[in-house]
Amino acid sequence: MDNGKPNRNKIRIDGKNGAMNEKNNLNENKSNPGNKNGLEYIDACSQEEVIGIMHPLVKEWFFGKFKDLSLTQLYGVKRIWDRKNILISAPTGGTKTLTAFLAILNYLVGLAVKDELENKIYCVYSSPLKALSNDIFVNLVKPLEEIKAIADSRGIKMQEIRVGLRTGDTTVYERAKMAKKVPHIFVTTPESLSITLTSPKFVENLRAVEFVIVDEIHAMANKRGVYLSLSLERLHEESLIEPVRIGLSATVAPIEEIARFLVGFNDGKDRGCLIAQVPLVKKVEIDLITPAEDILEAEDPENQKRLYKILDALIQENRTTLIFTNTRAATERVVHHLDLHFPDKYADLIGTHHSSMSKEKRFEIEEKLRNGELRVVVSSTSLELGIDIGSIDLVVLLRSPKGVARALQRIGRAGHMLHANPKGKFVVLDRDDLVECGVLMKDMIEKKIDDVSIPNNCLDVLAQQIYGMAISKIWNAEDMLKAIRRSYCYHNLSKEDFYDIVSYLAGDYALEQSYVYAKIWYDKESGQIGKRGKMARVIYMTNIGTIPEEGFISVELIAPAEKKGSGIGKIDEGFLERLKKGDIFVLGGKKYQFMYTRGMKAYVRGDVSRSPTVPSWFSEMLPLGFDVALDIARFRGLVKERMRNKGDCVNFIKDYLYVDSLAAENIYRYFKEQGRFSEIPDNRTMVVEKFKQDKEYLLFHSMFGRRVNDALARAYAYVAAKLRMRDVEMGINDNGFYLAGESLDETKILKAVSADKLEEVLKLAIEKTDVLKRRFRHCASRGLMILRSYKGRTKSVGKQQVHSHFLFHAVKKISEEFPILREARREVLEDVMDVKRAKNILKEIEDGRMKVKVIHVPLVSPFGLNLFVQGHADFIRIEDRIKFLKRMHELQMKVIGE
């Protein structure tokens, strides 16, 4: 086996200047070739090698349709045929799905011709997308029909190879049909897979599964992925043979972690996996557009016209354009404004596609795209995943996509046809966006992919899966734990955590009410676990899943009087949580002042003239990752060193970021202003600005990505609040965070947070925050503490919210260490925040590798402006209810006294 590293010279991503950086240091430590703890990097096979294994019928069919095997197929097909676990990572626009199926079809056709096809499921295919039918038709059903036709014309007899689709949308009738005629290839979602695993009849069909395909595995670095990893182990447990695992991924890092996540562990040992990193052979053209001479002007909403002129020109130059924004609201806005600025021009030629649209609407847009009926589609994130959308000429990234992998994924949607080159353009909207997109583009060109992280030992998901396992059969607890630990996400699950969840599910915490609640029984003597209640399967089927339900809040006017009571639209719950009384926000192009909420309604005033205090896209904002943030900080440092000579500096920026002079000039000017006003923060200096407005502000220029900033912000805010025993406000974004309070002593505050105490401080700091309460609701629902659907009734999100509020307090009374509460804390600390990296930053500060420099400024500096105007994100509540009440009472008495 040739284990030379993949030839990266084949990767040709060219920037505007066509430059290609040879110094590719980051890649080297990310993809060590050769065998490493059971992981092995592989190279492509030759065409002959792959053709050599192909059944004559499959060969005839394949080359009747395609000229050659694609590079992805050369990497994957033979290895799957050889029954090796394999992770195939290839840029989108590839032929991944067919690669995975080709070897399996080849095998099944061979059996079918020999009349040896059994009545069992040979292959399980899991995809996170529910709308699979089109892809499956293209990649499975049609090929099978065509192969059958060839066989017929040759007079070759062949058994029928059946494909079964089971998702949340599959009807009872279809399910019943499937139970009678077992499909050979079973196509499903992570959720439906785990439901089928609780069906004793259907499990019989899964006793000898030979292949498992996990598609879009790069999109599974979340609780849904954790959930799937356990379902795969449950499948493994039911299957008498060990199925080959095939993972299909877009460009992702760290690839070895994804590979381990795919295959899991066999009682502590790595199961082994081949890694195929398929290089991109197509040339990707990327470019960055600055919408105005002086980008500051472009930030002015009055000047938005220019932006839409640029978009219009781009759309006109290309046949089909796909515009990615980051949020649903922005998606709507772009469509609205294009129509406003170019009346009737785009009426039937423009489409919107985002995840809160109905399924039917989205299908319609996808279909129109495939048929080439649309000139432009605007999407948030929903078109990132691999739904076939036909051929796109240009992808426009409006605002930073916040990560290299995501940017590649989006641009990869262009040129989906085999031989077309993907084309992508960043269109930046403000100066922070300009710098960020510049660095992102550089990282893309230099192939530095940012890391994803997979959550570990999630107790809510565990509770759901243990319940599922108990429904399928009676287990010995220790065997169950063993099976769970085979999953990568639980391989170091502690015994205590496992038995805590068992005991929670067995109703131990519910005291005398346990008879109502217990979902499983656990017999300590025999060590056995089983389900409880006749309704178990129904409860399981109707309540599983890991994607939290987010509610939408109706917004209603309370003023002006003549419009009182009229509804003006909906905002999402996450956004509502960011609002405080008196905040001004924009909805549907108009300004409103938030007053209060009641259940699932928010009441606002319409008669406001002040500027918005909260941007409407805030809650949906994708977080900037750590790696890119550090690259931005490094870039800041490099520019800072070169500030003195303008010409050299601008040239440096041009070369370094692969951008044009206009962009470079704008960046230079931005940095210059910051340097003059305060100081340019960089990768070695964290600048902390102190200024006074209505309150005292400490603004930290911490360029470490949102999750690290979130952790640092809450820790500093907590100690600040503790010092004066008053609540402290804080604002957080990707570039930094601020604290605001009556009086902030920066020397004491900075000293009070240290690396070794960070976790301890944060645990206290998050205890009374909205984010913990919100995550608790998600965890309570995932962990089946709140059944969304029970006895035929479904709870609205509003009701779940009310219930979770009571639960939160009730649970704390029972035990501060209640497992689902613990999971909510873990989720906040490790998934919402990044405690580990925040700790490393603090260590760097402590050993002097990073300086903290406090600067007094009269008002917020240019680099801090976006953060400042965005408004607060949360409080650290320190003052207790009773004290607060007394203080307010004294105040009120003074008012009355006057």
């Binding site: 519910a510 005398e512 109502v516 309570a780 709140i786 009440l885």
Partner: protein, 248 residues
Amino acid sequence: MKINYIGKCLLIENAGKRILVIGDLHLGYGESLRESGVFMPGDLYSDIVKEMDNVFGVVEKVDEVVLLGDLKHEFGKIMRSEWKEVSDFLDYLNEKLNGDGKENVKMSRKIIIVKGNHDVITGIVTAKKGIEVVDYYIMDGVAFVHGDKDFAEIYDKKVKYWIMGHGHPAVRISDGVKEEKYKCFLVGKWKGKEIVVVPSFFSVNEGSDPRDFDLGLAWNFDLSKFNVVVVGEEKLSVLDFGKLGKIK
């Protein structure tokens, strides 16, 4: 006539009688949650008893207890725990009032239950204890009602006070940044009557601020002119915050 605020309760001293007034209790709420598939740990009932113990600890002798309605949570049905909790709670009150004397006959004079909108069938349980559920109760110029319905009798000239529950009044208090909600009494005047709206006794939530939400009372009170007496959550204290309309 003297009205004393004892935490969430009132102690009315009138015509030589000491009457303890308790707001909406919603017994059985915990089980009702469990019935709908919510894992509600803990025991709301024993929390209520603990709080009542504190109240009885300071009020000394009580001649009568008036429950302002919504004794139980579910409307049309009675759940096992509701039956038990209502029954236990009445026994508890009886013991507090009469010591160990278990004579049901005398009890009816001591415990008065005003019918709430949730109390459609509460009477079935209380009848076992010999206690009647009444629409309203008038005692020496003080009328006790639940608050959801109006009755001609309470407009009698001799009636000077209306004491009611039902609204679950609470108030949001904010310093512009932080905001918290507290249970409160609303005290004011309407058509020559002195009105007291009593907060709910059950502790699952605070209740509603009338500035946000109509309390659903049967009369058109101008609540902005009512005084807000906030439940202090500590040693059964209360704090007068002045008129609701003047609270920011």
